[in-house]
Structure formats: C-alpha cells, structure tokens
Symmetry: C2
Subunit: 295 residues, 2 copies
C-alpha cells in the first residue's frame, strides 16, 4: 500500500497564484502598473495552442495582462523577430514568451536570443543559465519548470543542503537548470542522461530525484532508495482504452511502485505541471517589479 506523501502541485500552484494576485493588486494600487506578458505562438500545433491558452487564462486569473500573437506556420523568422523587437520596446510588456517548438525553418536560437534579457521570463538566455551556474552571480530569471520543482521542495520543507540528488535528463529547459539549482542549494548532484551506463545504480543513491526525460514509467521501484523524494517532470501519453480520449498522461516514474518506496512524490498530472505556469506568472511579476523598482 502507498505510503509516500503526495506533493500536491495543483494546490501549491493555487496558493502561489493567490500570492501573486495580492502582489499584482498591491502594485497596481501603489504605482498604477499592471504586469504584462506577451506570448508568441507560431503555427497551429494543438498542444502548443493549449499551453498558450492555459497561460493566458492563468494571467487573467491573477490580474496580469496578456498579449497574444498568433502567426501562421509559414511566416518568416523575420516576422517573429519583428514582433519580439516591438515587445522589447513596449513598456506595458514585462515578459516575453515564445512558445516552443518553433517551425523547423526557423532558427530557435536566433529567436530566443532576440528577447531582451530583462523580459526573458522563460530564463532560457545563456546569460541567465551562466549566472545560474556561477557562484556569486544571480540570474534575472530562473527557468519556470525547474524553479517550480525546487519551490515544491521548499514548500514541503524538504531539506536540500547536503542531500544526494540525481537529475535524470539534461535538457536546457529542465534537467540542466534543475541540477544547477539543486547544486546552488548545496545538494551533491549527479546528472543522468541517455549515455549513462547504469542509471539505476546511481539513481538508487539519491535522496532527491528529479526526472525530466519523457519516457513513461522508466524509473521503476528498484531505482528508488526507501524514503527518497521524487519530483516527476515527465508528461507522457500512454494508451488507455477506458479514457474518453483513448490515452492518459503519466510521468517518467512508475507511480504505483514509487509511491510504496518514496517518502514523497509528485503525481502526473497535478504535480510539476501547474507549478510551471505559476512560476511563469511569478517571473512576470518579478520583471514588472524590477522594471519599476517596486519592492
């Protein structure tokens, strides 16, 4: 029977949204500024459209103004850059987000690097990642998903300092910044990736596991040290005839097995997912506060 505490990302995200709502209204009352987030969506991928819609809705729910641009799949890189440049110059926009992935004919790096570093609420700019990696430096923004993972640990009072942590996955947007954040909080961090020879051996030593791979149920019970804390970032569709859509979403970690061994675990959905959006709102608020020097 399950013994692990469920780390309720949905609930924590709701609390954070309430905190942000209060701050947004305090700022509006004090200096008349409303934080603004611009979202650029290129093409007509259904999943991307859903993400963008959810982000817009989340903005509305906390009083952040959102600006949306939808461009056709076949538009040019130049056009996207033009919108970014306009948003960079627009004082009512404090954060700019380009929904990924972009169509294949565009250079993702060119586009991401064009976002002004002060408005890079995704925190994907190499300057931000560099500052995250360096002691004594502070990034302007921490990437939303890994920030959400650490925030969950904090809000559940899970100690990080001195703990052994394993991050599975090393992408620019999740795995690598998650490892840097854990190390910045004095965990001893190991990073597992597709070339790791015995991922189970190393993972089983971890007090804290963050998995961001994208493979359903990859992390089995045998990979987990009794009492470990598990943050499961993966979102993977698996066939499910009993679901009206024919599939359901699961994480990278075999939840059934893990929940019997771990001391705490995030569910999928309802774990890291809602936190990602909450952190985006938080970064947007931070951007607006910084621009207007509002404490």
């Amino acid at each position: 029977e399950a013994t692990a505490e469920v780390i309720d990302g949905k609930l924590v995200a709701k609390q954070i949204r309430e905190e942000i709502t209060a701050e947004v209204s305090r700022m509006k009352d004090a200096i008349g500024v409303v934080p603004g987030l611009a979202v650029i969506l290129v093409g007509d991928r259904k999943d991307s459209a859903t993400y963008v819609r959810n982000k817009k809705k989340a903005c509305e729910s906390v009083g952040i103004k959102s600006f949306e641009v939808n461009l056709p799949e076949d538009c040019t890189e130049q056009e996207v850059l033009k919108y970014i440049s306009d948003f960079n110059d627009d004082p009512s926009v404090h954060g700019i987000l380009v929904q990924l992935p972009l169509p294949k004919h565009m250079n993702e790096q060119n586009i991401l690097h064009a976002v002004s570093i002060e408005k890079d609420v995704d925190g994907f700019h190499p300057l931000n990642i560099g500052r995250l990696a360096m002691r004594g430096e502070e990034p302007l923004f921490v990437p939303c998903t890994p920030k959400g993972c650490i925030e969950l640990l904090h809000r559940y009072n899970i100690g990080i300092k001195g703990k052994r942590a394993v991050v599975i996955g090393r992408s620019n947007i999740v795995g690598t910044p998650a490892a840097l954040l854990l190390q910045g909080e004095d965990a001893t961090v190991s990073v597992v990736h597709s070339r790791t020879k015995d991922p189970e051996e190393l993972t089983r030593q971890a007090d804290i596991i963050i998995s961001a791979v994208g493979k359903a149920n990859m992390v089995k019970g045998s990979w987990i040290k009794p009492g470990a804390v598990i943050i499961d970032v993966g979102i993977n569709p698996v066939e499910d005839a009993s679901s009206p859509r024919g599939y359901r979403l699961v994480g990278d970690v075999c939840y059934e097995e893990a929940s019997k061994i771990a001391s705490a675990i995030t569910p999928v959905p309802g774990g890291v997912g809602p936190m990602t959006i909450a952190m985006l709102l938080s970064n947007t608020l931070t951007a607006a506060k910084r621009t207007h020097n509002f404490q």
Copy 2:
C-alpha cells in the same frame, strides 16, 4: 609499487605550444596579423606577479605579442575599467586577462564583465559559462584550466563518453566548467563540494576524477577505484625542510597512494599547471583567428 601512467602535462603543453607557434607564424605569413594578449595586474602579490611573468614568457615563446599593465594596489576600479575599455577597442589586442585575485576594494564582477566577450580568453563571462552549460550552444572560449584537464584526457586517449566522472570542487573557474565539459562529452558527472556528506563513497565510483579543491592530500587511496584516471588541479604548499624554499607543492590527491591504484594520474607540479598556460595561448590564437576570419 606505482603502476599508474604519469600524465605528463609539461610534455603535452610543450607539444601544444609548438602547434601554436606554427599556427601563429602561418597566420602572420598569410595575413600579417600577430595575435596579442593584454594582461592586467593590480597590486603586488608575489604569486600573481609570477603567474603574469610566466604568461608573458609563454606568449613570447610562441610568437604572441603581450601587453602588460601593472597598477598599484590602491588604484581605483575606474582606472582598471579604463584600461579594459582601451584594450577592448585596441585591434592589436585579441585577448584580455585580468589577473585574479583583485584588491578587496574592487568589484571583481564589474571588472570581469567589462572585458569584451570576444576578448574574454579566460572564458569567465557568464555568457560563456551559460553556453558551455547548454546543449546546442558553443562558448566563444572555454576556461583555460578545465580546458587543459580535458585536453590531457584527449591526448592520452582516455575515453570520456559513458564514463562515471566525479569533479571535486565547484568554483566558477575550475570545478563548475570542468563538470560542464565532462558532461558535454557524455560522461555521467557528479559534483562533490564542501557540503557533500560522504565524498569518499561517491568519488570511489568514478572512472575519472578531477580534483580542484586546494587541500593537500585530501583524496586518499581509499577514495579511488582501481584503474581510475586522476586529474589533480590542486596546487598546495606543504612544509618541506629539505627544500631550499622550506616548502614544496603538492596536489589535492595523495600521489603516493593514488599512483598505486589509479591507471593514470597527473603529477603536481607538471600536470595541469603547464596546460593552463598552453590553453590561454590557444584561446588567444582562437580569438585572433576569429576576429580576422582566418581558418
């Protein structure tokens, strides 16, 4: 009895300097450009003066022009910034190096960030470190000491991909970039630091150990897996009555014990030290080639 192969950094550095000499003269013949390195030394620390002198000598030995500025301990941050700005604008200077540590009344970050990213041959700019950390991005320069460590592994045909690596130390200039480089070459990397609870346990799992701590003989034989490869970055003075100076230099790793267990090891001195300077010359050459679009 010792069985480990000695990784001869002095010899490899000499080979690299010869390669650089050839390239410098090829470039001069082809386009009439001589690479130039500017070194800024503030204060009168003896060790810093020695390092700067060695760097100048090394430049001369390969035909790189060196420019040196010596400023008094009590000069202002403004003065240092003025020299940096002049060197940034000077087309005969391709690399700029500020010898650390700076006097305490100066803000190290302000000064390091002032160096133009195209001339940051030390590779310490957060933008460079960020690019090093990110997949699909390339840093303009890789920091010299960690680059030297990896170069030694390459020149001794020591495979990195899929290997377990432990980096001891996480400084901005050695440990962190060394870990990022190893991970970029597909090692599975763990970073040990002063808050790590059982450094021995984790280190003993490593196929490759890079130690950059600054504690004489900290890494004992028992920390080392038989057959591991050891790159010892530490330079630590220990009392030695038999030496004319009263001390000698040793690494972080207990060489006597390690050389019986490891398959290969760098000595101190004569290991990583000479490689650091060779990589500085290499970065300066790279800077000049890039500026003049010379292949």
